[in-house]
Symmetry: C2
Subunit: 228 residues, 2 copies
DNA sequence: TTCATAGTTCGATCGTAACCGAAGCATCGC
DNA sequence: GCGATGCTTCGGTTACGATCGAACTATGAA
């Protein structure tokens, strides 16, 4: 009855609703303070503090002190992937948080998944990149083509510097709302940063959703058309 | 504070040690009865019954009545992947079930992951297939080459029939003991079945480990050499 | 029919962990 | 120094869920 690593521990860590909410919020990518996390968890700061301590002890979170604040973030991308994959799994089984309902449409349109773009726009972007021959999909994996590399240079993304990081360039990440893949990895991050820098889109305060400006919307749709 | 699917529910399902043990056991691929699962969970049949009911309600398990037995299996491959990915994650963080220890060496050498080969031998097989040019690794994805298809035919595996299934042919699955990828998908399953049919290896009664016969060991190592 | 085995349901116990109030540190601004 | 803010620790309460004994249902064997 005892073989292999202990799933129960991390399962239990994620299994508490308050903790799950905090983790989901942190999947938004930005660091949050203990008080903010208490808010999203719907609990007092005291309880949040103990929860956060447990999550940190479990290796899911790291904290950074800054003045009298403590900023919490997911420990690394692996945690984010685990959370998103569990979300995808849960969505597939109909484990939705509140009844059926239309949910936040903004969240389904475009949201942040750790540090890259997800939702309808995220999926559309990857589809378009594949259709245009910039990215090749082989099995579950993704690879950037030479054409893609030069195309990206035009947008203002230098793939060379991205390659120098140890993080994989292209990764596919299952989108829980669309149930299809979107682009993760350092390239996914770079693309999102690019949109934010250009002012095409901005992050919202307390949500994971990403709001595109009218101009940004036009540019995005022009850049990543859906093939008819 | 409420966006997206409910991770907490499935987290909590996996979060109980008894349930986690049962799920881990079922990752071995074979259907187990309620009594057997009570054994691996270290609990009485009554409690096991309630646990199994919860897991089934959560969509993680399915049961099949056969005479007076009830055979439980994982609901589908997605559940198996979730469990294995959580194992990989847990192993990476040092969440091991019992202290450090050498653990079951047999389990690390070769074991079943749902329906394909994992452990040292599983990783070695994939490495060798890639080195020989039978399988191409692109990013995280895997694709069978033409050479691979003809090579497999020699062993007695007809890829054509495998393709007809909706299940992907090649999938990479992260190995928790080796921390590297092994081959899953319908091809992974076919290869393991092939070894079992030929009598090269056999499954053990109550464990996930796979035992190779001396002859099978020889054949396997000959077929999948490690490039020096 | 009767007995045995496999499994579920009921009822009650018990432990753990989530929770909050209050007090205790730490850091900032003044 | 002082108070205010952000967060943690302590103590005690509470509630949920895991657990098992016992009773009940179902299938199979004799």
């Amino acid at each position: 009855m005892k073989e292999g690593p202990d799933i129960a521990q991390i399962g239990a860590l994620i299994g508490d609703p308050a903790r799950a909410n905090m983790l989901a919020a942190l999947t938004g990518g930005r660091a949050l303070t203990a008080t903010e996390l208490a808010g999203v968890g719907g609990i007092t700061v005291q309880t949040a503090s103990t929860h956060l301590a447990k999550l940190e002890a479990g290796g899911l979170l790291t904290q950074r002190k800054q003045g009298r604040h403590r900023y919490f973030t997911l420990a690394d991308e692996a945690v984010a992937r685990l959370i998103e994959s569990m979300m995808g799994f849960a969505a597939g089984r109909g484990h939705l948080r509140h009844r059926p309902g239309p949910k936040e449409p903004a969240l389904r349109k475009a949201r942040i998944c750790y540090d890259h773009l997800a939702g309808d726009y995220g999926v559309r972007m990857l589809d378009s990149l594949i259709a245009s021959g910039s990215i090749e999909a082989v099995g579950e994996g993704l690879a950037l083509t030479e054409k893609g590399e030069s195309d990206l240079k035009c947008i203002g993304i230098d793939v060379g510097t991205l390659r120098s990081s140890r993080r994989p360039l292209c990764r596919s990440c299952l989108d829980w709302s669309e149930r299809r893949a979107h682009l993760a990895g350092s390239l996914g991050k770079a693309l999102l940063s690019n949109f934010l820098d250009k002012g095409w889109a901005r992050r919202t305060a307390e949500s994971r959703s990403v709001i595109f400006s009218p101009e940004g919307d036009r540019q995005f749709l022009r850049l990543f058309p859906v093939d008819a």
